[in-house]
């Protein structure tokens, strides 16, 4: 049931235990146990909401920053990643294969604040060799969900 449970929760974290149990064909107690275990094991790390900020009047700018760093002896990239992700404005840090090492996703109110973070904080770190900053202009799809488009049922109302 684990995989199916996670698949449901990933799409709808607000679903209650009772309904989960029905959909999975298990008892509520089973579902509760499994979720508790998943939380304890750090498999479920949080329950978030997907928000299309563009539709609000709240200003947000998201930057994607490619960072090249010198890995440190004995620690690889982990310590650098930690130094970066400790900033609360950093939303995500990934280690990547390819042309650069770390991808940092940053959310701020203005472009200037992102620029400031890159020039004052990121670039000045000793092991950072170079950065390239991209700004997100429009989000079409996020977390598997197409934003701003309602699905319309195109089917005839009754078919055999």
């Amino acid at each position: 049931m684990r995989e199916e449970l996670l698949a449901i929760l990933e799409k709808n974290s607000r679903i209650d235990f009772k309904e989960l149990a029905v959909l999975l064909g298990k008892t509520e107690a089973d579902v509760l146990n499994e979720i508790t275990k998943l939380e304890q094991d750090g498999i479920i790390c949080g329950y978030h909401t997907l928000i299309n900020w563009e539709k609000t009047s709240i200003e947000k700018v998201t930057g994607l920053i490619e960072v090249k760093v010198t890995p440190q002896r004995g620690k690889g990239f982990d310590e650098m990643a930690e130094r970066i992700y400790n900033y609360p404005e950093v939303k995500a840090v990934y280690l990547l294969s390819g042309g650069y090492d770390l991808l940092v996703i940053l959310e701020e109110k203005t472009l200037k604040e992102i620029a400031g973070f890159v020039s004052d904080k990121l670039s000045t770190m000793e092991s950072v060799l170079s950065t390239t900053t991209h700004f997100i202009l429009k989000k079409y799809k996020d977390h598997g969900t197409v934003l701003g488009k309602k699905h319309k049922d195109e089917r005839e109302v009754i078919t055999p």
Partner: protein, 388 residues
């Protein structure tokens, strides 16, 4: 002026679904649970392959039997799911939906007055197609207490000297019933003994929620006695592509191909290219859709339990078939009033044969959100009826 119409056609009743459709279409903001096709879009990689075929200019007829590559993939698919080997060269025919395969399959084997046994409730086309082919439909009324499975006794009872074909529509539309291996073995024994041909309509074979589907053609000695019909509509959410197929002994496929050749030429080329992709890389999509259907099925069964509505647990297709006999009205009355009073459209069981009286077909090819609203309204309606 002369009456130009064919007597045979004019005596055939139009589909009971059609009548209801006309009422529903006029009603705005009605929620429908009456659809017999998946709510999912055709997976993008399959659509993309169709688009690519158009871009490459694949816009001509294919061979009558269908693209060789597609027939090979169908052959592989049947082998990996059922362990039956069909020769793509002469035992497989690609058709315009499973519906065409039903029609031409019957036409290829029926002589005047041959009897065709049709278990009901079942899909609307078997009976008219039998009549059009010049055969005589013999109806078996399936029973709720058998979970709408066909029993050996019922079959034996219906067989006469004139019996030629048994239609075996499982997983079933509208009941959601399945036939498991043990059930099929008993039927197969009779089929072989009485030397009858089975037309096994397995269009919902990918959508079962207990064991994996078993085709009767996979049982010993049955391949020679079976026209196996399947297609892409339900498994891959490809209804509008109109693509199905028949697998059968080569003598039968040869005759079916003749009718297909003169009536249709070939199935749509774009769809055939898309279908190759579906069979090659679509297993995961099918599994994900199956899981979603299963969740909705469980949701409905639980909802019926809570509202105390009698319904056997179906393990196939995407339908549930609850019993409404307690309310003392016909299926059609119930469905009409439910539509008028609560604006939920459900197909009365009688659209699938007279023995569907007292039942409703509820489709769960809808999102859970949609089902919740509709079931809420159904519950309200039922409580209202009960409180009287």
């Amino acid at each position: 002026m002369r009456n130009f119409l064919s007597d045979k056609i004019t005596t055939i009743k139009p589909s009971g679904i059609r009548k209801f459709f006309d009422i529903v279409s006029e009603m705005k903001d009605a929620i429908s649970l009456g659809v017999g096709e998946p709510d999912f879009d055709t997976p993008w990689h399959i659509r993309d392959e169709g688009i690519y075929a158009l871009e490459r200019g694949k816009t001509f007829y294919t061979s009558n039997a269908g693209l060789k590559d597609l027939r090979s993939e169908i052959s592989n698919y049947i082998y990996r799911t059922q362990g039956i080997r069909y020769n793509p060269d002469n035992e497989i025919l690609v058709t315009v939906g499973g519906s065409e395969a039903i029609d031409i399959g019957l036409r290829a084997v029926i002589n005047p007055d041959d009897e065709v046994i049709i278990p009901q409730p079942s899909y609307v086309s078997y009976e008219p197609c039998t009549i059009l082919a010049g055969g005589k439909p013999v109806i078996i009324e399936l029973k709720a207490e058998n979970e709408f499975r066909l029993t050996p006794a019922e079959l034996l009872n219906a067989i006469t000297d004139k019996t030629k074909v048994l239609i075996l529509p499982y997983p079933n539309n509208p009941t959601g019933a399945i036939m498991e291996r043990e059930d099929l073995e008993k039927i197969a024994k009779i089929i072989i003994e009485k030397d009858i041909l089975v037309m096994s309509d397995e269009i919902y074979s990918a959508l079962t929620y207990k064991n994996k589907h078993t085709s009767i053609a996979s049982l010993a000695g049955m391949k020679e006695h079976t026209i196996l019909i399947n297609g892409f509509s339900k498994a891959y959410a490809m209804t509008g592509w109109r693509l199905g197929y028949a697998c059968a002994p080569k003598e039968i496929i040869k005759q079916m191909t003749k009718i297909h050749q003169f009536a249709i030429m070939c199935a749509p080329t774009t769809s055939q290219y898309a279908a190759i992709e579906a069979l090659k890389n679509g297993d995961e999509d099918v599994e994900n859709m199956r899981k979603s259907y299963n969740q909705r099925r469980r949701f409905l069964m639980n909802a019926f339990k809570e509202m105390n509505l009698k319904c056997f647990e179906p393990f196939g297709a995407f339908y549930v078939f609850p019993c409404i006999k307690e309310f003392g009205m016909t299926s059609e009355e119930f469905a009409t009033r439910l539509l008028q009073e609560e604006k939920v459209a459900i197909v009365p069981g009688t659209a699938f044969g007279d023995c569907g009286e007292g039942y409703l077909r509820i489709s769960y090819a809808y999102s859970l959100e949609n089902l919740k609203i509709a079931i809420g309204r159904l519950n309200k309606f039922i409580q209202k009826l009960r409180s009287r």
